[in-house]
């Protein structure tokens, strides 16, 4: 049962990623990425990472992809705004030729490791409590740096948005 679930989620994840690079319309690409993110969240749940399962759904699927879809609809992109990509599939084949040796290398290295049972266990591994303990004991400096980074991103987004409104106001004064 768990195996079937894992196979289905993996196929959905890889299929969504393939839909992202094949479709020309960015809206279909965004929906493919959404499917892929939700499937990866399911694989997180199969790997006992319950807190990350929630974070993946809330932050990735709920916040980032919704923001991307919102901006795609907000910009109102027409067909002639899209870049024409005549040799897209040639470049995809070239990229596959570049990336396949790296995959073979990593998979050979991983296959050499001793195999362990990766099934679900009934413990508090990956729960929010133990993760909080590890986060605030071992990773406190990184946590503070990430909070500063989020503050800087907030200020940067406000500055970028402010420049646009000033230009609009200037055009309004001229006319």
């Amino acid at each position: 049962m768990v195996d079937l679930l894992f196979i289905g989620l993996s196929l959905l994840a890889i299929g969504g990623a393939l839909a992202m690079i094949v479709y020309a319309n960015p809206m279909y690409s965004a929906l493919g990425v959404l499917i892929s993110m939700l499937s990866v969240a399911g694989i997180f749940a199969l790997l006992n990472a319950t807190f990350l399962f929630m974070v993946q759904i809330i932050v990735y699927a709920g916040a980032i992809m919704t923001l991307i879809l919102f901006i795609l609809m907000f910009l109102n992109i027409r067909e002639e705004d899209l870049p024409n990509e005549p040799n897209k599939f040639k470049l995809i084949a070239l990229g596959a030729v570049i990336m396949i040796p790296l995959n073979v290398l990593v998979l050979k290295a991983v296959a050499k490791l001793p195999s362990k049972d990766m099934l679900l266990v009934n413990s508090d591994f990956g729960d929010i409590g133990p993760i909080g303990m590890v986060l605030y004991n071992n990773w406190l400096v990184a946590f503070e740096l990430v909070s500063i980074l989020l503050l800087v991103a907030l200020i940067g987004a406000v500055v970028l948005a402010k420049k646009r409104t000033r230009r609009v106001k200037h055009v309004g004064e001229v006319s």
Binding site: V2, D3, F6, A13, I14, A17, L18, M20, I21, A24, P26, S29, S36, V40, F44, L46, N48, A49, L52, V55, Q56, V59, Y60, A63, I64, I68, I71, F74, D81, L82, P83, K88, L91, L94, I98, M99, I100, N103, V106, V110, S115, K116, M118, L119, G126, I131, V134, L135, N138, W139, A142, V146, L149, A153, G156, A157, L160, A161, K163, R164
Partner: protein, 104 residues
């Protein structure tokens, strides 16, 4: 079936598809989503090895990666809006104002 090698295959497939998307597409939205897909593949790899070694440090690193992706999303999408307003295009070949060539 749910073994270390199959999980590593799925995560490497996601990472590779993201990298192929970055080098083959010209739509700037698709390039951004490919970057997100590469981060997703690396997250899956980290969580796989967290389960393999029964250690919770990789899951904390994954939380950091997700926070950085959220910060990146805010900046990247506002820059995309500014670029689209000034050039009316999503083609990465149009955004060449800072290069040194004779193209204006």
């Amino acid at each position: 079936m749910i073994s270390l090698t199959s999980l590593a295959f799925v995560s490497m497939a996601l990472f590779s598809i993201g990298a192929i998307g970055v080098i083959s597409r010209r739509n700037i939205f698709v390039i951004y989503m490919s970057l997100e897909m590469m981060l997703n593949g690396i997250n899956l790899f980290l969580v796989t090895f967290a389960r393999y070694h029964f250690n919770m440090d990789p899951q904390v690193i994954t939380i950091m990666v997700i926070a950085i992706a959220a910060a990146e999303a805010a900046i990247f999408l506002s820059v995309i809006i500014l670029l689209f307003r000034s050039k009316k295009s999503l083609d990465t070949d149009v955004f060449t104002t800072l290069t040194q060539g004779e193209k204006s």
